[in-house]
């Protein structure tokens, strides 16, 4: 199973700032290994973030995103103690969901 994400969520005025670190290889499918064989593409395709069950961010990602990606975004609303849940799905169908409490 994929390694856990690191999620930090803090209230900033009337918005909440969320910072997410994900652990993923993010292979583009363009690279070759030492034997000259193409390393198959393997990257996160979809990212969603939900605040108390309501989707606040939905993104489609491609191979141009870096390895071990860092995502930072803000959404309106959110209070201390609320839950933020982030989910990613990659092109192999692997998925990972982690939750953080807004601080």
């Amino acid at each position: 199973m994929a390694d856990p994400m690191k999620i930090r969520a803090t209230v900033a005025g009337d918005a909440t700032e969320v910072k997410v670190l994900m652990s993923h290889e993010m292979e583009t499918g363009q690279r070759k290994d030492a034997q000259g064989k193409t390393i198959p593409a393997w990257f996160i395709q979809s990212v969603t973030a939900a605040w108390n069950g309501k989707t606040v961010l939905s993104a489609q990602w491609g191979p141009a995103i870096s390895k071990n990606p860092f995502l930072s975004f803000k959404f309106e609303g959110g209070a201390k103690g609320d839950k933020v849940k982030v989910t990613w799905i990659d092109n192999k169908g692997e998925t990972r969901t982690d939750e953080a409490t807004i601080g």
Binding site: D3, P4, K6, K19, L21, S23, E25, D33, I39, S66, K67, N68, F70, S72
Partner: protein
């Protein structure tokens, strides 16, 4: 030509000559800004988390965790340990750094064979290294503390002398020594500044940043790896992981870096 036009022309001419002087400074400033921006999203935190899990998980033939490992501050004390390494350990009668000490704990506590504990110190694409994760965790537990590697024990003095000798001894097909690159301020390889490691001001800033996440390698790299890579770059014989040679060089460098704040695991190019 109006006076404003003339002033503009003069400004353009100035701008053309100035970059030669400014280029280096502004590039380094740019890199500094880039580092600042990425600091809060340092992927090394993923290594720290994995390292903490490895530290606490029961592993090895004896199926025990590393929680009783003595990193110099007593069994089980991780907090602040990295800031006081390398140092002399009575049980092994050796001066050890964080990584060679972790090897010792994996052998004595968890029952790993020494060659197994040392087998995978540096990760490669598709292959994690437990050592990189564990070292990240241990180093992070000293964040913000001042480096204070001891140099009182005769063995520590001995290691320092050996490190001093190795640091300055030119060898290999390129006739290089560590000091060729790292004993003078203002040197660079391409855009990478080379710190003068015998200058406390510079050593304090960089020695304390390892282990670090290297963006170009997509992984955390440790001080052992930095030395291994320097040896490779100098075309010296391969530096063995957790060897006395590596530790001696660290003891030597730590003397100048002492007093610097631990920023590890940092984020680097």
């Amino acid at each position: 030509m109006s006076s404003t036009m003339r002033a503009a022309v003069a400004a353009v001419v100035l701008a053309c000559t100035a970059p030669i002087v400014l280029a280096q400074g502004s590039t380094e400033k740019g890199i500094e800004q880039y580092r600042q921006a990425l600091k809060e999203g340092n992927p090394a935190e993923l290594w720290e988390a994995r390292g903490e899990d490895l530290w606490k998980r029961k592993r090895g033939p004896k199926n025990v965790s590393l929680e009783q490992c003595d990193l110099g501050q007593g069994p089980g004390v991780v907090r602040g340990a990295y800031a006081h390494l390398p140092r002399y350990f009575a049980d092994t009668d050796k001066v050890q750094d964080a990584e060679s000490r972790l090897v010792t704990c994996m052998v004595t506590l968890q029952g790993f064979k020494e060659e197994d504990a040392k087998k995978n110190p540096f990760s490669a694409p598709g292959r994690h290294s437990d050592m990189e994760a564990l070292t990240s965790y241990v180093a992070a537990e000293s964040k913000g503390m001042k480096l204070n590697a001891p140099l009182a024990h005769p063995k520590e003095r001995e290691a320092f002398e050996l490190g001093d000798y190795l640091f300055h001894r030119r060898a290999g097909p390129h006739d290089y020594s560590c000091s060729t690159c790292h004993a003078e301020s203002g040197k660079r390889i391409r855009l990478q500044e080379l710190p003068a490691l015998t200058d406390p001001g510079e050593a304090q800033k960089v020695f304390t940043t390892w282990p670090a996440y290297r963006v170009s390698q997509g992984s955390v790299r440790t001080m052992q790896h930095r030395l291994y890579d320097c040896y490779w770059q100098m075309r010296h014989p391969q530096l063995d992981f957790a060897s006395d040679t590596a530790t001696a060089l660290m003891v030597y460098m730590a003397k100048f870096a002492n007093g610097g704040e631990v920023h590890a695991p940092a984020l680097k190019r």
